[in-house]
Symmetry: C2
Subunit: 229 residues, 2 copies
DNA sequence: GCAAAAGTATGATTTAAATCATGTTAATGG
DNA sequence: CCATTAACATGATTTAAATCATACTTTTGC
């Protein structure tokens, strides 16, 4: 973690897009651009919530752990995404941890300033409320999936989600490059099981492997694995 | 479902407590008090979101189904609670269903009026945002539990949650009276497994049974089942 | 440039929990 | 009030997925 030389453009993140134009200078004077190295922890689960982060460059995983071995990845964040917003809940601690997956540049907004922003920008507060509402929907959907969908379905869902958010490589194919470990943790399974299921999917010609990358061949097929049987 | 003769008191629900006093007359003229019979569906999963409900009397379960057999209960609501707020998300349909567990009286607020309320009552919008944030936290906690905690732990958690929200019977003991089916669906397991685990807990003297009711004897013990091992 | 660590690959074994099967008891609506 | 359905109880069986064990391969920090 170190101060960045690169400053964000004050217009591509959720915060800057949602605020009154008059408020942008205030943001500009308060924001701190910070760089994290690959693998570095941005904040810890249970740690004091000091502020909100807007991701300017790179990828971050947001996760919650069980014991010290198992973790569930809740979210993969990319450019433009906001993280740390879970710290706005009841007890002002982060209920999750966040780790950089690449070298990452973030814009940090102090929690006190963020709250002032909410008081001043009513429309932004409304957008944030809607944002939370949608996150809640998604979380409950995944809750149901963890409870009732089988692993294969959950992995199919993970692949499609990753394709939608991170897909489209330069080659035109929909390549996905996260570690199997992380993709398994997002799916709520072990990496051994993840690996086996991916092998099945390759046999069934729904995906193909080129080195690390997983390429989706049959989106329809994957969607059918998700439908309740 | 029928119109209620009984009207709510305009001060005990989340809406009335969070709004400007000047807005209460507007609420009063817009609200509709409705009664649902035990077992009646208040709204359907996937149905068009028409408004928000505030529970004035009785209990409601909020659930999401998988196929037509399995369901996951997301929330048990009681007097003062708000339901239907998940319909405020992206596509204006309820992502969950709600069913009356007793005879229930609700106060229904039309979605258009609710949105006007949000525009007028900034502090209420802020409270609602915080409410969602806390729900999100809780949902993600449960997601992790479904992924990594064993059934016994999840059932212990369910019992403690029910005790906190619904406990305290007249006898002073912490009695819980929901159907085993529903408690199992909340825990993310089958009722057979739920039953077996409850038997174990009885043997271990952590709970006791008096007819339908489950009484918690050893809260500490249950909490230990939740701690990650 | 090399060593240690992190990630990947794969088969064998175990286990937790779901499913199946069957009987009993309790609700509730016609 | 009786009948039909829903909820409860319990043992036997199956199965999906985790765990264990072992080997290989790729990173990356010193």
């Amino acid at each position: 973690m170190k101060k960045s030389t690169l400053n964000c453009d004050l217009r591509s993140c959720f915060l800057c897009k949602g605020c009154l134009p008059e408020w942008i200078p205030a943001i500009s004077s308060q924001r701190q651009n910070i760089v994290f190295k690959k693998g570095e922890r941005i904040f810890e689960e249970g740690g004091l919530a000091t502020g909100i982060y807007f991701l300017y460059k790179g990828r971050i995983k947001v996760h919650k752990s069980w014991g010290d071995e198992k973790q569930l990845i809740l979210h993969f964040a990319k450019e433009g995404d906001m993280i740390g917003y879970r710290g706005l809940g009841a007890d002002r601690t982060y209920p999750v941890a966040a780790t950089a997956l690449d070298e990452v540049t973030v814009c940090f907004i102090d929690i006190a300033f963020f709250e002032t922003t909410l008081q001043v920008n009513h429309q932004f507060t409304y957008s944030l409320m809607q944002f939370y509402a949608n996150e809640l929907l998604a979380a409950e959907q995944r809750m149901r999936n963890l409870a009732h969908m089988d692993v294969k379905g959950r992995i199919a869902e993970t692949l499609l989600m990753l394709k939608d958010s991170f897909g489209q490589s330069d080659s035109g194919a929909v390549d996905i490059t996260f570690s199997r470990q992380d993709m398994a943790s997002y799916s709520g399974t072990t990496y051994e099981t993840f690996f086996r299921v991916i092998n099945d999917l390759v046999k069934e010609k729904m995906v193909s492997l080129n080195g690390k990358a997983i390429t989706i061949l049959d989106e329809e097929g994957l969607e059918q694995l998700i439908a309740h049987r």
